[in-house]
């Protein structure tokens, strides 16, 4: 299947869902980039551009939800969760309102625009808000699943989307469960917990590791909150070592979630692959994925190093 960015799948899913469900969609002058325009072109009476004013947009979304209509509010992850963090926290999160923050251009795969637009803190920010569900889909099928589930949840949801066209890992995610990790492949030597773009990389890394005699499990964490602590502890016992891979800072994201889960119950070695407490930089997305070691080669090398091989 052809590569496709999760933001494109988001726009298509919204447009399809609009046929059967009542909800509003908001954007902050990035509708062509986030792909909410796909919905807006089809349902102009339910799409509202808020202009370049993300804080206002999040509180407007909260008011709409308080008046009984669910809302998807989109911008780049940097501005949605960064600039408007406090509006999300106080206007949306605290009253548990039915607002779905679907943010595109998360992580370093923003590419050439550089560090100012590469949000590597959004998972950390969003999962810190009580009651917030956090989805980070790996591909188009998982994005479609996450968007539909978000609308079924009565409360705030964050959906992390990317700019970069990614390989399709899944064909059907209808059996996914909110808060349950998806075991893509089992293994006994090391468990790779991946989310978003690193899921495809991890699947390839598993094959490379098998060639070297290493049995690696690959777990797709599409829901970062609520986190599947049970599965993390299972693999802490089964493999004794977990490698986390994410297009996010190693502080506060998936790596932290895994550490928090296992250290309470089944302490084990956890190696976190991600952005190491530094800002991103300008380059093409593909170059950056490789630069930060988030491709199959990077994951393979990290896994072998973690195993002392």
């Amino acid at each position: 299947m052809e590569k496709q960015a999760t933001r494109v799948a988001y726009g298509k899913t919204l447009a399809a869902l609009g046929e059967e469900k009542m909800f509003f969609v908001l954007d902050a002058d990035l509708s062509g980039s986030t792909n909410t325009k796909t919905f807006g072109d089809k349902f102009p009476e339910r799409f509202f551009n808020c202009g370049i004013a993300e804080g206002n947009m999040m509180s407007v979304a909260a008011g709409m939800a308080a008046a009984g209509v669910p809302v998807f509010a989109s911008s780049f992850a940097m501005f949605a969760t960064g600039r408007a963090f406090e509006q999300i926290r106080n206007s949306v999160g605290y009253p548990k309102l039915n607002v779905k923050i679907a943010a595109s251009h998360a992580g370093i795969t923003v590419g050439e625009d550089g560090a100012s637009h590469q949000c590597i803190e959004d998972i950390s920010l969003m999962r810190g808000i009580p009651g917030m569900t956090v989805f980070c889909p790996a591909d188009s099928a998982e994005t479609e699943w996450a968007v539909k589930k978000a609308l079924e949840i009565d409360g705030p949801v964050y959906i992390r989307l990317g700019r970069y066209a990614v390989e399709q890992v899944f064909t059907d995610c209808s059996s996914n469960e909110i808060g349950k990790g998806n075991v893509v492949a089992d293994g006994t030597d090391i468990a790779i917990f991946a989310t978003g773009i690193t899921v495809a990389s991890a699947v390839k890394a598993r094959a490379a590791l098998a060639d070297k005699g290493v049995s690696a499990a690959v777990v797709d964490i599409h829901t970062i909150k609520p986190f599947d602590k049970e599965l993390a502890n299972y693999y802490a016992s089964r493999c004794g070592i977990i490698l986390t891979a994410e297009e996010h800072s190693v502080i506060g994201g998936l790596g932290s979630a895994v550490c928090e889960a296992v250290c309470e119950t089944t302490p084990c070695k956890v190696v976190r692959l991600g952005i190491n407490d530094e800002f991103g930089t300008s380059a093409s997305a593909g170059v950056l994925v490789s630069h930060f070691g988030l491709d199959a080669e990077g994951i393979t090398a990290k896994a072998l190093a973690a195993l002392g091989k």
Partner: protein, 273 residues
Amino acid sequence: MNVQLLQEKANAIRIGIIESTHAAKSGHPGGSLSCTELISYLYFYRMNIDPANPQWEDRDRFVLSKGHCAPALYSALAHRGFFEPSRLTELRKLGSFLQGHPDMKATPGVDMSTGSLGQGISAACGMALTAKATNKNWRVYTLLGDGECEEGQVWEAAMFAAHYKLDNLIAFVDFNGYQIDGAVTDVMNPTPIDEKFASFGWHTVVIDGHDYNAIDAAVEEALTIKDKPCAVIMKTVKGKGVSFMENNYKWHGVATNDEQKEQALNELKGVQA
């Protein structure tokens, strides 16, 4: 409109403000006392609401954007029948349904959780646009502080409301002249607030915020304005009704002690010291 009845309600609301903040040993009496006429006008005359059904879908909505003045809102809701006035002294206690700032999940009749300044007016815009987009006739009222108008988000919301022609929204500004650090014109001058709203495309009026007839005239006029939101700048007295609090910014965010409470209540109840 029965002005005498509204005055009686305002007085009862003021007593509730003093008693609840005294019991909590904290809270914001100054700005609660300055907006009491407006709150009583909305809850006892203007708004289409049902205390027996706080979540009624077609009710008018009120968003207290200056959320720290929750004691005024709570006192009005109690006297309007949303809950027993005797419960006002539960304010700010552990587990209370009366949180320090409005919590729509905790208190019957509170339409929006607020407290972080600038966000309430945006939420009110979202409600007003929802009413329009779903062909409903209910209206949205919001109340801002003058100091709150220093928040940039207020002007993002002002742009939004004008852009979407939210003529079902009225924003009141409680222009009592003081914020927590002092006079608004000394701390960070937000004036002229009326001209700012006008330049953003709002219909704007300036009135005496303690005069029910002026409030009503402003609202009646707003109801006739099409395709524009309306801002009503209310000149008020901070701490109104309690002599030692009036125009004293030090009463922005502190509660009375026992002696001060007695004096305040005696004044409000018309007892000579």
